[in-house]
Amino acid sequence: MKPYLRDKIPAGFDEIPDTPSYEAGYLVTKNSGWRNVRPVIDTKKCIGCLNCYLYCPDGVIFRSNHKAAIDYDFCKGCGICKKICRIGAIKMEAEK
């Protein structure tokens, strides 16, 4: 199962588990605020080799219509995808 964002942030004592275990893949915050630059994929150039998907440390690149696409909620803007792309289909753009 892929971890996903939940609506509820456990806060009260009755919501905090009294055992050391909790539901897997429970996300409550995004990582998009870490980013200064964002990768933008040129879908016309992208050949769907998936090299960027393979090397992304955060796993935010996924396959969509035989091309690569990015989940900007969790991308930290490290730029590895841009460097690994052999055909130069990814550009880094400043976050405004």
């Binding site: 199962m1 971890p3 909790y22 893949g25 998907y53 440390p57 796993g59 490290c78």
Partner: protein, 295 residues
């Protein structure tokens, strides 16, 4: 069929974690879990990957995962494997992800014990060459000359004085069923090794070199390039140990420059030409050994 980008499990099992941008260790964990699949049970001792993966209530593992004591990664893997087996569950992989300190310093005894018992576990060491999580202190896998907060670079002593511990051969010396080295720069090689380890019964050990932009002083987008370069310049090697034999998986035709590799990282920037010569000759000695003893 060999596992590659197209055939790899599309589900992410390590997602939304708080690792620094460009983290090599998180890439190793992510890819290993994708190869092992949903039924992997991950054990993580104190270290970067447990610090970035379990910030309650932000829990970034999609499969079962647990934090162990620092020294007890392999012991906990043993317990998980025995516990699940006792319940009649057979379709699982007990996998540990420990850093270089958690493997070569603090967790070495537990790992040695697990290999001795030949428990059916996979131990992956993501080696970022220092205790990065606590603020870059030297571990026994920190290479010669590297600047850390406990081995600062001064006028007389320039960084770490001791060479990197040879963890791969220490593990192999136990007569382990399968051991391998890898680098995040050669991720297909790593995937193949995890896939292979998945099918072997007994203790498996994979040592993957994972650059840390924060601790090594490199740009966040240089992680993969540096991880490739360390193999190409001969300071790291891709090898396997199986059936009592060492096998070299990749032999660079000509080594790239050690100096260029070192000077790209701020942890090595203080090194003199003489220091680089020392590193180069130790590399040559290592490769002579590899050519003599590896297939």
């Amino acid at each position: 069929m060999a596992v590659n980008a197209k055939t790899l499990n599309e589900t992410e099992f390590f997602y939304g974690h708080k690792a620094c941008a460009g983290c090599g260790g998180s890439l190793a964990v992510r890819i290993a879990l994708k190869v092992l699949g949903e039924n992997a049970v991950a054990v993580l001792p104190a270290g970067c990957m447990s610090a970035v993966g379990f910030n309650f209530p932000q829990l970034c593992f999609g499969n079962n995962a647990i934090i162990s004591t620092f020294a007890g990664t392999a012991s906990m893997l043993t317990g998980i494997e025995a516990g699940l087996r006792a319940q009649g569950i057979t379709d699982f992989h007990a996998v540990g992800f420990a850093g270089d300190g958690g493997t070569a310093d603090i967790g070495l005894q537990a790992l040695s014990g697990a290999i001795d018992r030949n428990d059916d576990i996979l131990y992956i060491c993501y080696d970022n060459e220092a205790y990065m999580n606590t603020g870059i202190q030297k571990s026994s896998l920190t290479p010669f000359g590297a600047k850390t907060t406990t081995t600062p670079a001064g006028k007389n002593i320039r960084g770490n004085l001791r060479p990197k511990k040879n963890m791969f051969e220490i593990v192999a010396a136990h007569g382990i069923p399968y051991a391998a080295t890898a680098s995040v720069g050669y991720i297909n090689d790593f995937m193949r090794k995890v896939e292979k380890a998945k099918q072997i019964k007994g203790t498996k050990y994979i040592h993957i070199l994972a650059p840390c932009p924060t601790g090594w002083g490199i740009k966040t987008d240089d992680t993969i390039e540096i991880a490739k370069e360390v193999v190409d310049c001969g300071l790291w090697y891709l090898a396997e140990y199986e059936n009592g034999e060492f096998k070299l998986n990749y032999k660079p035709e000509e080594f790239s420059s050690v100096g260029d590799y070192l000077k790209k990282q701020s942890r090595f920037r203080h090194l003199t030409d003489e220091d680089i010569k020392v590193i180069q000759s130790s590399r040559d000695a290592k490769w002579e050994f590899i050519h003599r003893n590896f297939k």
